[in-house]
Symmetry: none
DNA sequence: CCCATCCTTACGTTTACCTTACATTTAAGA
DNA sequence: TCTTAAATGTAAGGTAAACGTAAGGATGGG
């Protein structure tokens, strides 16, 4: 899965029909999205948007206490998140209006859920493309694209081997990775005779990611089996 | 006008109907776009795409010598530019197919020209938003449009290769760009055997952008992984 | 208490990269 | 077409960060 971190973006759905909200929510969570909230009115939507700070919003144009365009303009006063409009009316005027205001997309009801998913995916990818997948640990976080770990605001660079080893651990986050597997990840074919070297690297990694390298809480050794990387909050 | 440089992006229009091409061209140039080319067949489109290197493409699905989806897949082999599909058929299957392949949007004919303009604007803004025509570094700033760097009031011109390499670094500002990626950016297909030449260019670039080229703070080397360009203020 | 396993540190070695000078290609102008 | 300068590519010696190694120390299970 290439863009897994996008699935953790907070999505706000605003519609006055409960069934529509339920349906979209179902499809989104089935597709892997984990953070979804809904609202049925402009008022409710504004409150949620302000407090919860979603990363993306789907707005119905027709709402009981105002229309989606008004809601959009209110939201733009405090957030620049991308927005997709849903509209029952297919009128040209409305279609243009949403986009002209600065929305990212719109869809006409009734729509195919599959298409909504695709469009949401496109927008999120486009908008949050610059963000790197970051792995959060107990006392630090790892940014692989920049090859550095941030601990207490300090930026510590990772070397090539450290990067390889951490990647391998990360790919199996939480699970045990054997020493053989780690050697293979770092040295390719002929990963023999490097067990000691691996140990030295583990030490150097711990000095970067751990609060106290001698009492590790993130990069744990499982005696006789290997190592494992535990993400923030177990 | 905030995004004036977006109007200079190269746009490729592919459709088999001359009138449609003419109409879209008119609307685009009226809206300020300066670089527009058209093609009527898959073959023609591929040639233009490869030689002219457009920044964005509008593809009709129905073409005399193949369909737009095939064309899209061929183009994806050498470019990652955003694409919008035009389709006469409103069939669900087709709508989904284009988006599923990785297109950025699609529109069903007949469409409102105004809406097409808005959608193209949205895509370009999102996609090229980070391409700041001037990039600020620790001790200098790069002006890509003029192909020069300004250091202590001095204007130092960039050569073609330096420009390519810096662009590639800039597109991933802060992130690591591998030597392979940089070679590919500068020498296209067959980026092999230029590693040493790249190094020489890196040196020359450093002499232009760095206060002290031997102690770089903007164009950093990450041993074993690649290089990265760090913008002003980390 | 002993053995196995892993930790820790210091230090020697390697290799990826730097630097420079020079050769070659390209492009512009005469 | 020829001339020339700038841009680009190549090669070789130098360097330091990253890596590997080894040896003594800790730790815990049996």
């Amino acid at each position: 899965m290439d863009h897994y971190y996008l699935k953790q973006k907070k999505i706000l759905l605003v519609d006055d029909e409960r069934e529509i909200l339920a349906m979209i929510t179902d499809f989104l969570s089935e597709d892997g999205y984990t953070q979804i909230r809904t609202a049925g009115t402009v008022k409710e939507a504004l409150r949620t948007a302000e407090e919860w700070k979603p990363d993306f919003a789907v707005l119905d144009v027709m709402l009981p206490d105002g229309d989606g365009f008004f809601l959009f303009e209110q939201m733009r006063k405090f957030t620049q998140i991308p927005v997709l409009f849903l509209t029952a009316r297919g009128e040209d005027e409305d279609r243009i209006r949403g986009l002209g205001l600065g929305a990212d997309d719109y869809m006409v009801k009734p729509f195919l859920p599959k298409e909504l998913l695709l469009r949401i995916g496109i927008i999120l990818r486009r908008y949050y493309r610059e963000e790197d997948p970051v792995v959060r640990l107990a006392g630090s976080r790892i940014d692989f694209a920049r090859a550095e770990v941030v601990k207490n605001g300090e930026h510590l660079p990772l070397t090539a081997k450290e990067h390889e080893i951490l990647s391998a651990l990360c790919r199996n986050a939480g699970r045990i990775v054997t020493i053989d597997q780690l050697c293979e990840a770092a040295w390719g074919e002929n990963p023999f005779g490097y067990e000691n070297s691996l140990m030295a690297h583990i030490r150097r990694i711990r000095e970067k990611i751990e609060e106290n390298p001698s009492k590790p809480v993130s990069l744990i050794t499982v005696k006789g089996l290997g190592y494992k990387l535990v993400p923030e909050g177990r």
